[in-house]
């Protein structure tokens, strides 16, 4: 498996199987891989490499053997393999201490020192408060703030970029609000109009207005349009899987790790912009493993095409361009058939909206409630 540089179907099938054996051995509880683990890891392997691996029947592979398999790979590659292990344990609740410790041992054998391995160990230990501090300091917030200092810019910096606390409650900003209001006058096929329409239809307050999203967070809403993902929890998980893997920095995994903790296992109470919601187990929902895997695949292609954190793209300067043109320029591949069959709907599809958003759309369209 080659999550960083793989070429899909050309990946060496034997190596994919060996790596899968290592991942499965690292994350298996005493009773064996759970269905969610097996389905998710299988879907990711298939989406990234084109090789179908049945995780339920793999022979064990020790950490030193896995290290030998990956000896010629660079650190980023090995780190992404470790992230697959971490994802495989993050969907467990509780995470057995033995699993978290084993993943740590595999990471060490691969020469990877990774914040998320440590966060998962804290979850396993039951030290949720410390884990949250750890995630904030060394994963999530650290990554976001580092991203804010990046040099990749295509024009004027969007408001909020590089702020020391990008997810603090948004401030009223008339200039930013005016930019968003102006999107309404753009042609319907443009990125700007479609992101405005997404806000307007769902009753979201525009960035820069009272109650609007922080400018930094609003960056991910452009990605909803570009990648064509819904805005319910399933859509959010897809969009952050996509963004996280599109990030050339492996720390982009923070998005997926955080959203999994918020919406799947409840290990995380809040990020400041999303609050914990585990009423509906998202990854465990039918087909979601394939949708997440496909989002990771698409993100990987975007990473290879651009080498840009999608939170750092200045969407304001390309807001007047047709969405299709923006997709082409970023090299965003179409959704895979597997994800579509599994129910990955587009941004405009009611099935991709929360119940509240659906009610708002109905009101805007002249319905009753």
């Amino acid at each position: 498996m080659d999550p960083a540089h793989g070429t899909g179907p050309d990946d060496d099938a034997d190596e994919v199987h060996l790596v899968a054996r290592g991942i499965a051995t690292a994350v298996a509880p005493a009773t064996g891989l759970t269905d969610v683990q097996a389905d998710l890891l299988q879907a990711i392997a298939s989406a990234l490499t084109g090789v179908d691996v049945d995780y339920r029947v793999l022979e064990p592979l020790g950490r030193e053997e896995l290290a030998d398999v990956l000896a010629g790979k660079d650190l980023d590659y090995r780190q992404r393999i470790v992230h697959h292990m971490v994802l495989g344990e993050l969907v467990l609740r509780p995470i057995p201490t033995a699993v978290a410790h084993r993943v740590h041992q595999y990471a060490e054998a691969l020469g990877v020192k990774d914040d998320f391995v440590r966060v998962a160990r804290r979850y396993a230990q039951g030290a949720y408060g410390l884990a949250f501090k750890d995630l904030q300091r060394n994963g999530f917030a650290d990554h976001v703030q580092a991203g804010g200092e990046g040099e990749i810019q295509h024009g004027p910096s969007p408001a909020g970029r590089g702020a020391s606390a990008p997810f603090e409650p948004a401030q009223v900003d008339p200039e930013l609000a005016a930019r968003w209001h102006a999107f309404a006058d753009l042609p319907p096929e443009t990125l700007g109009f479609q992101v405005w329409d997404m806000y307007d239809g769902r009753g979201f307050e525009l960035p820069g207005t009272p109650g609007g999203a922080p400018a930094y967070l609003a960056q991910h809403d452009f990605v909803h349009v570009v990648a064509d993902y819904g805005t319910n929890l399933k859509g959010e998980l897809e969009v952050f899987s996509f963004i996280g893997r599109a990030d050339p920095d492996p720390k982009g995994f923070a998005w997926l790790a955080t959203l999994t903790g918020l919406f799947e296992t409840g290990y995380i109470p809040s990020t400041g912009f999303f609050d914990r919601d585990v009423r509906e187990r998202v990854i465990q929902a039918p087909g979601m493993h394939r949708r997440v895997a496909d989002a990771i695949r698409r993100g990987k292609v975007v990473c290879q095409n651009n080498n840009i954190d999608l939170f750092e793209v200045d969407y304001y300067t390309i807001a007047d361009r047709p969405v299709e043109e923006v997709r082409e320029s970023l090299g965003v591949p179409a959704k895979g058939a597997s994800a579509l069959e599994a129910g990955s709907v587009g941004l405009a599809d009611l099935a991709g909206m929360s119940e509240t958003q659906q009610r708002m759309i109905a009101q805007r369209r002249g319905g009753t409630t």
């Binding site: 410790h101 440590r118 160990r121 396993a124 230990q125 030290a127 410390l130």
Partner: protein, 109 residues
């Protein structure tokens, strides 16, 4: 099921603010260092004895071959723990009381 371990520290201070600041910094430091058994801490004020406080520090298993109590002992031997403890003592009136407990039950998921 892993058995957690707790250490309690009872002490007297005129003002708990420096202790709170010390514990906050301790947590920040622990959150970004290599994982060990330390899970978290609570500082409680005694309502019947003003000026009396209790710290409850929890430890858990991170390595299946090392008990939580052993993790706590290892933690106690760390220079940073000794340094924090010494700073606490500077604020304490009299000698703190230490007690050690194995956890038998807790409300959990």
């Amino acid at each position: 099921m892993n058995q957690n371990f707790s250490q309690t520290i009872s002490f007297q201070v005129d003002d708990p603010a420096p202790i709170i600041a010390l514990l906050e910094q301790w947590d920040i430091d622990q959150a970004s260092c290599d994982i060990m058994g330390y899970m978290g801490i609570r500082l409680l004020a005694d309502r019947e004895n003003l000026g009396r406080y209790m710290i409850i520090a929890d430890f858990g298993v991170v390595d299946p071959d090392v008990s939580a109590a052993d993790e706590a002992a290892r933690n106690n031997a760390r220079p940073e723990t000794q340094a924090t403890s010494a700073k606490m003592l500077e604020h304490s009136i009299g000698e703190p009381e230490y007690h050690h407990f194995d956890e038998l039950y807790r409300t959990d998921f």
